[in-house]
Symmetry: C2
Subunit: 279 residues, 2 copies
């Protein structure tokens, strides 16, 4: 099957503005880019995303993937970003059935949502089965957190962005396969979903890391990508926890350095120091 | 004019789940509540918000205010929250003209957006004039940051929420008038907009504080409420900065303790220590 035709139109991530600090000094301050990007599918306007614009093609593909508007990469013929008009045009090979009706049902989620077909997603959750023959060792978690800490980020330069990473799960080691930052956390997740399709990466044994909170939508999107391990530097919300419990995803929050809280899916986690306590 | 009939159906803010920490100990961990709340206006479904549910009536009113669907509190006859059905029913006195058409134009903004009639908002920005006869003294800013630091918050207990406050701007002093936290930052802003209507608070000399980032939508909403001072603990994005520049709002980021960065609207800021440098 031919691959989609893609532009490669990433935007510069930061630019400098002047600010006055408490000492009265004028300091150039790097801030994160933020651009509207209107997504058209077969010339029909679908949504406008506000994005850093680091990986706009992957974002468009991942958005359509996570919204379940496209079922496989084969369906997409071309993804063309044009910053002159702040738009991305996706051309499908055979059209998307009922696109208008499906977009009409969008729900706006958790303040940090892109508007999701929420009812449909909840139905889908019931049918998700994550792999149960994979384990995450505590030392692998620590290796991941160390890799994240050393990763060069826009966040370190400018703040105001969320980061997401997809990483391997090897005995005592973890390698970052893709790392995306965006002004919107869900854009970063969607861009990773797009990258996974473009690079043909299977998520079923991987670790998904996010700097953001573990809200319902974050858990759902992770599960949709069949990823059994979800790790965050931040905390979680009630619905995030409930859905994680129901899906049985292995969810770890407050993960920084050698600290973490294992919330759900304990059966997939192997504690290196005291394994018997988690049997 | 009669006031709207209101329920008072705030939800408990946190509840405990069990987590396993890095020492293998089982620790009860408070997490923030998160509930879907579907907003109906005159029996028409408008949006589903995911919310902590601290101030659902004010949230519904503020959402309609900030979306410019309602122009004054007079237009609202009743706001009735029913958690049995996760819904809030707003009854207007005379209906909202063109509600269906106006909701159809929603755009999804910055990952942390509730979906806004973005084009319309940008048009409106051009007509916003913030008061230019008010000043914020550096010592008042420090007093605000101190008041925020001492405020009891859900964030301190459970994390995973954003907080917003409306505060007075007095010589060397600042009093928090209303403080709302929510899983979605924009919900917190909207709830404050609702509170301001309910308590008849004029924003034109007040300070708006947020724990969240200064994105385009945050700046726009603040300006819509005619508030000239916007302060955040966090950083900002490019569009947030651009819009703040255009509106001329006095925007301060990275404000913690005795540190801050003054980004825009310098003419309203009075530096106590070295006033000449900002003349």
């Amino acid at each position: 099957m031919p691959r989609p035709l893609l532009t490669h139109a990433g935007r510069p991530a930061t630019f400098d503005v002047e600010a006055i600090n408490e000492r009265g000094e004028c300091v150039p301050t790097p801030i994160a880019g933020e651009h509207p990007l209107t997504l058209y599918v077969d010339k029909r306007e679908v949504v406008t995303l506000m994005t850093l614009g680091q990986a706009p093609e992957a974002l468009a593909i991942g958005y359509l993937r996570n919204q379940r508007l496209v079922r496989s990469l084969d369906e997409i013929a071309a993804v063309q970003v044009d910053w002159e008009t702040d738009s991305v045009a996706v051309t499908t090979r055979k059209g998307i059935k009922g696109l208008g009706r499906r977009m009409g049902k969008r729900t706006v989620t958790t303040g940090c949502g892109q508007g999701t077909v929420f009812g449909d997603l909840m139905d889908e959750i019931e049918s998700i089965r994550l792999r149960d023959d994979v384990r995450l060792a505590e030392e692998t978690l620590y290796a991941l957190l160390d890799a994240i800490r050393h990763h060069e980020t826009i966040y370190k330069a400018a703040g105001a962005v969320h980061g997401c990473a997809l990483a391997t799960n090897e005995p005592g080691a973890s390698r970052i396969l893709t790392f995306v930052e965006d002004v919107g956390r869900h854009n970063a997740v969607d861009a990773i979903a797009g990258q996974m399709w473009l690079e043909d990466i299977d998520g079923s044994d991987k670790i998904f890391y996010t700097t953001g909170r573990l809200t319902s939508e974050m858990v759902i999107k992770c599960a949709q990508m069949a990823i059994p391990f979800l790790v965050s530097r931040s905390g979680l919300t009630q619905m995030g926890w409930r859905i994680a419990e129901r899906i049985g995803i292995t969810m770890i929050g407050r993960a920084v350095g050698k600290h973490y809280l294992l919330f759900t899916g304990r059966h997939r986690f192997v504690k290196t120091a005291m394994p018997t306590m988690l049997a």
